[in-house]
Amino acid sequence: MSEITVEAVPERGADPNAALLDVKDYRVGFKTEHGLARAVDGVTFRLDKGKTLGIVGESGSGKSVLNRSIMGLVVSSNQIEEGSIHFDGTEIVGTDRQPFWGKRMSMIFQDPMTSLNPVMKVGRQIGEPLKLHLGMDKKRARARATELLTQVGIPEPGRRLDQYPHELSGGMRQRVMIAIALAGEPDFLVADEPTTALDVTVQKYILDLLNELQRDRHMAMTLITHDLGVARGRTDDLLVMYGGRVMEQAPTDVLFSAMRHPYSEALLESIPTLDHPKHTRLNPIPGAPPDIVAPPPGCRFAPRCRYAQERCATELPELESDGNHHYACFFPVGTDANAEALDRNIERGHTAVGLPVSKEGRVG
């Protein structure tokens, strides 16, 4: 971190209407002894200033790799990066993104305990980016750190600066993480499951806080989550990922009112909700996520999909657009083709891939 210099920070873009982040056909692969693991396989999205993009998917869907790669955090000789990312007008694929860290882009992580240094006082940890990226001296950094702690709602900030992370509760540690991430007033923040390790009441507080800080600073954010409830209430647009590919992409309200992809539907149906009476039978998604080194030839989700037909097993569906709603499926949910596909599978008792389907159209 010590080699970061202040003057290396690129200038902010001139066009205020341009997307802050313009990602086109972005791919990230890792060379392994078994072949290339396609962790991110052709993702395209645009993120404007002040907006939040939610990225949803199971473990292994590529949502974290996508964001870490955009940040330039995945640096390894066996990593392959393709496609294009314009950050505020500048192409950043293939370039070193370290000069952007702190001042232009920043990140908060899932586990605030392991992402803070346990043997360094909170004040010094917040002061570090201030000194490194903004060139502040020790005294000004400390004053600014106190201000930041106040902004993230930590009582008695002056006292907290001289405490160690273990002296703070989980919610408070996450607030310290947010303070560190926002110290350099970034334009773009990646929040990787920021509340997964926290209680619901603390989660609500942290998400409210992020919303508020984002509005004040006109900051763009990607919110990675596996919780569809969080995604629904806290994002402007949603990206549903599976096996490194985008399954469905739309403004959040459009996606929830007219879900098109069977995977999005299956995810939503698998979670218990408060409005279901007790002992409601859940609908799990059968099977396991796909092998990204040797993925199935057709649709990645076909082996677990109750609508799967012969075509799904052999042909890879591309992302198709219906206005601002994009989905990669031959038999989108809510269409006649989808209803016919399910009827056919119920009749033969299994999908084209061999997954058993019950009389009620359920799998798993």
Partner: protein, 339 residues
């Protein structure tokens, strides 16, 4: 919240587990002590699932562990089928252990990575094989049946080690291990918190199936209110070592009476519907369990708190006209029976 009392305990011949005035304290520094669980009472009928819900540090795990006497509670009684486990020592307690088993949160770290699945599942049998009570009733067939019952292939899976399985499969192995000694009660401590949503549904369905098939009674701990609602017959809400509210799950979620329960429910981001609860704001931080607030322990963060909440601890009272819904609050959101 944060109340005491035993009015909600039921007088029913089918009560399998009855916990009375449970107190668990841990030493903390000089003279200080952590009041982890303070005067909590509840009971569980045979075949019932009781869900324990609350934030981290509310004492839900400590309560469940005190049931199996890890550690022995500071005071109070844990009656299992009429026997007070808290009074049992040594060999007498050891003989009770097969009756109550436990499933833990992290499926991978709770399995020994160097042992084969078959050995992990059958360890309880090896330990108990010599005892008269257990001898003869366990065979390899029984192990195979269990591995199959949790959805794994006994021949292929039995010879493999935990690292070859996914998190969900490891949790299935944990379920099989917990069931091998034919327990009456299974304590599930956040069994699905570390799993993906799709796998979480598989494990929750599996637990329901196992409950039916083996006639289990479950004590289910989770911080996820939706999960607790789904699996539980009755729900107990805890805060800072005290009980807030207990009763029929559907009723508590439909008409939450305690301000804390309402605050919890309003914080849940729900992907399906908006729940009809006004936005209770939970101000401030969780107080320290070393110096818990006086009176009702929730009064420091409660929007309805009055002077009496600071001085007097509320007693558990029943909601008027509702058979199974009890709340410990001076100013509950529903009408309660006056004492």
């Amino acid at each position: 919240m944060a109340g005491s009392g035993t009015a909600h305990l039921r007088d029913d011949p089918n009560i399998l587990l009855r916990v009375e005035n449970l107190v668990v304290e841990f030493p903390a520094g000089r003279k200080g002590k952590v009041h982890a669980v303070s005067d909590v009472s509840f009971d569980v009928k045979e075949g019932e699932t009781l869900g324990l819900v609350g934030e981290s540090g509310c004492g839900k795990s400590t309560t469940a562990k005190a049931v199996i006497q890890i550690p022995t509670p500071t005071s109070g009684h844990v009656y299992y089928n009429g026997t007070d486990l808290a009074a049992l020592r040594g060999e007498d307690m050891r003989r009770m252990r097969p009756e109550v088993q436990m499933i833990f949160q992290d499926p991978i770290s709770s399995l020994n990575p160097r042992r084969k699945v078959r050995d992990i599942v059958s360890e309880g049998v090896r330990v108990w094989g010599s005892s008269k009570a257990a001898a003869g009733s366990f065979t390899q067939d029984r192990i195979n049946e269990l591995i199959e019952a949790v959805g794994l292939d006994p021949v292929a899976a039995g010879e493999r080690r935990p690292h070859e399985f996914s998190g969900g499969q490891c949790q299935r192995i944990s379920v099989a291990r917990a069931l091998v000694l034919d327990p009456k009660i299974v304590i599930c401590d956040e069994p699905v918190s570390a799993l993906d949503v799709s796998v979480q549904a598989q494990i929750l369905n599996l637990l329901e199936d196992m409950k039916q098939r083996y006639g289990l009674t479950l004590l289910f701990i989770s911080h996820d209110l939706s999960v607790v609602k789904n699996v539980s017959d009755r729900v107990m809400v805890m805060y800072l070592g005290k009980m807030c509210e207990i009763g029929d799950g559907d009723h508590i979620y439909e008409r939450p009476a305690h301000p804390y329960t309402r605050a919890l429910l309003s914080a849940v981001p729900d992907a399906s519907v908006e729940i009809e609860v006004d936005d209770e704001v939970l101000a401030g931080e969780l107080p320290s369990p070393i110096n818990p607030p006086s009176g009702c322990r929730f009064h420091t963060r409660c929007s309805s708190a009055q002077e009496v909440c600071r001085t007097t601890e509320p007693q558990v009272r029943q909601l008027v006209g509702v058979e199974d819904h009890w709340v410990a609050c001076h100013f509950p959101h529903e009408t309660v029976v006056e004492i």
